[in-house]
Symmetry: C2
Subunit: 442 residues, 2 copies
């Protein structure tokens, strides 16, 4: 099985059409057959561990040679590098997906419209999705397993820096597919030319969904230039609201975790709103704890007044809509729960919002009224994640309210269709009143 | 209650924000309370029948005075005009929606992530939707009932020609809302200035979904200019494939119904694909039947050869991707079921596609492999409709595969959110291995 899939003689559009055709055949396999392909791939990942690691080693060396040493490149190198344990984890995750229920099997609804005229609403794959990603080698097994499980084709475009690793991993997928049927290998293909990304974004008849995984700038670029629906999130401006009835120790611990545990994550907290009744006692404590953890604290005027001993930077208007993705946080004192909800409605990115309170009624109001994919009560915003939610695998996190929302697993790759089984019925019989609909749910 | 809702002193954006705020309160009512508002409105529609008809009469007279008589204006006048029976039907449809199950009540999934850390996936309203429509007065009660049932706010922009009718009907909705709580009246507002449409399309923080109902050109304009997700369909290029194993009489009857019963509908058939094995016998019969019904027939070369006595116009490449919305049809002879599927994949608009055959295996392949919102076996394409599907009421038909697809009822106005109920959990406990997730489905 060739490691890359782009042959020189066909256009990108033809290649995507081949993927589309192969995916149609994949979707018609039984759930057991699709799981068989997943288990075959998991075995191959383990069997070829040495080959994966050698390719990854070559990528890491090429990266270091090109970029040199330094803090920034170390962070990137850490994302690029995998290990024997990482490869085992890849195989284990693919097996996790194989264990999930077959998403294509279950009929969503059946309605008898009339005698011999039965309507079924059934799940079906989207068709072909394009995933554009950087560095992390575990993206290939993860999205590959979700695509095959749901009967979708996959056009992958990885970063140049992970070129060798991606080739081996995509080659494994194609081998596992071909082991079932040679024509299925085309279900997954790998692009390596950066210029092809713009072409992909225009192929609205060939590709049904684009999933950009990368920097906020890159994701926003894709949102702006794609004619195809995009699953992703531009920014994560997550708030924690510390209510008047919050447990102060819990609040301090949760805020620190949400900011410090992984500041670059989209679900890390960027803004803390504190009820005025607890601000005087809570803010100096929280401010000290944040500063001890190396966090730069910005604040509204009232925050500055309440924390005279701390080096709080005055917040400007732009701070409320800025995602720092860094050890920085902005704090605001609010007059009420409703004021917190209004602030979040105005500045939030509808990603993840958390209330800390011992008052169940306040929690319920917040969870009901705040418009975000994930709304939390007494928990760190960092829990908003497909693995932590138990989705099996994550294709991405969506800030859109349409289609799949929040951390997205298999359901993001599915749509449905209406299948109507008739026996020659025509509409004019019903329009003229000769027949009437039964609309009986079965 | 004022008939229109736009007061002169606030901006469109402020008005939409008021609608958003009022809708938040609406969403927190119980299902019984929201149904109470629907029943109140249904009663008001009946009680104010004379007022609705007088307003509608004024609209019709103004329209005739402005446009004059003629075939085209008669069609439009027919769409604009309502009657006492039409008004009763409006009230009956609103009561139908009240009878549907509460869509906000049911928890979609519950997962215990760990002790005292429970994740619930719950349905919730999208927020505010904007519906831009022409003529038909029954749009106001229909989308109003769906919006209130699902806890959404509604910004309506009707056509100038139905101005008086729309004012009365929107006034009734606002009165029914205010009867429950005066602040709820703002849930529905009516715009009358055409220039405001462009503004609405840019208000991505205030409005969650745009539903354009009108001509293909208008819908495509909205798709191109909206920064907000759009629910609708640009074109309906629907095919009927007459298989080698089709019942010829049934096929003739279904094709005639699908083309003639309402040629301007998006679900009327535009192209007929005929298997080569039955073309010689079937095509002349079908061609004659279509021409007797006043349909202009275009065809591929083989069709022309097979129908020498009929006046078939040679089809050009552009015919395969043209929606006529008129008494015109294009016919092609295909070599196989797979050739039909490939043709539809290339030219179809993914709206509604039908196979006519007595061969269950061919039907299954077609229904599985054709990528369209509605796929039919032995039935007219004209069945693709929310009322015929038994959805209760229809907000529109979507050709998009993401979010709601095909004829869309209540589910198109809903999204979901993840509510996480914790007791102070932080992610670092799990990242450091002090705790592990349970992921127990409840």
């Amino acid at each position: 099985m060739p490691a890359t899939t782009k042959t020189e003689t066909i256009t990108l559009q033809e290649q995507a059409q081949n993927t589309r055709r192969a995916a149609r055949a994949l979707a018609r396999l039984s759930g057991e057959q699709r799981n068989g392909i997943l288990l075959k791939a998991a075995n191959l990942i383990e069997a070829r561990c040495a080959e994966i690691l050698a390719a990854n080693q070559a990528d890491c060396e090429a990266f270091t040679a090109a970029v040199g040493n330094g803090t920034a490149s170390e962070v990137l190198l850490k994302r690029l590098k995998t290990s024997a344990a990482g490869v085992s984890e890849m195989a284990a995750r693919v097996r996790d997906v194989a264990r999930l229920d077959d998403p294509l099997e279950k009929v969503i609804a059946t309605t008898e419209l009339d005698d011999g005229l039965v309507l079924k609403k059934v799940p079906c794959p989207l068709g072909v999705m394009a995933v554009i990603f950087e560095s992390r080698p575990d993206v290939v097994p993860q999205v590959g397993s979700l695509a095959i499980k749901t009967g979708n084709g996959l056009v992958l475009k990885g970063g140049m820096e992970a070129r060798n690793t991606n080739r081996v991993l995509v080659g494994i997928w194609r081998e596992a597919l071909a082991a079932h049927d040679a024509r299925l290998a085309a279900c997954i293909c790998l692009l390596e030319d950066r210029a092809e990304v713009m072409q992909v974004l225009q192929m609205e008849r060939e590709i049904d969904l684009v999933v950009p995984r990368g920097s906020t700038d890159f994701v926003n670029f894709v949102f702006q230039h794609s004619r195809i629906p995009v699953l992703g999130h531009g920014s994560g401006i997550c708030h924690i609201y510390v209510d008047r009835a919050a447990d102060r120790n819990m609040a301090k611990e949760v805020v620190i975790d949400a900011k410090v545990q992984y500041p670059a994550a989209c679900n890390s907290v960027e803004k803390v709103l504190v009820h005025q009744d607890v601000a005087a006692r809570f803010l100096p404590e929280m401010g000290r704890a944040l500063q001890s953890a190396g966090v730069e604290v910005r604040g509204c005027e009232r925050t500055l007044e309440l924390c005279p001993g701390l080096n709080v930077i005055p917040a400007g208007e732009e701070d409320w809509s800025t995602e720092y993705s860094d050890l920085k946080i902005t704090v605001k004192v609010v007059a009420s729960l409703q004021a917190a909800i209004e602030h979040i409605d105005r500045y939030g990115s509808r990603h993840t919002e958390s209330i800390l309170t011992e008052d169940p009624a306040a929690a319920e109001t917040f969870l009901d009224e705040v418009d975000a994919a994930s709304v939390f009560h007494n928990a760190s915003t960092r829990f908003a994640d497909g693995f932590r939610y138990g989705l099996g695998a994550e294709i991405g996190i969506s800030n859109s309210k349409l289609h799949a929302r929040g951390p997205v697993g298999m359901e993001g790759l599915l749509t449905y269709k209406y299948k109507l089984h008739g026996s020659g019925q025509i509409v004019s019989s019903y329009a003229e009143g000769k027949k009437t609909f039964k609309h009986k749910r079965i």
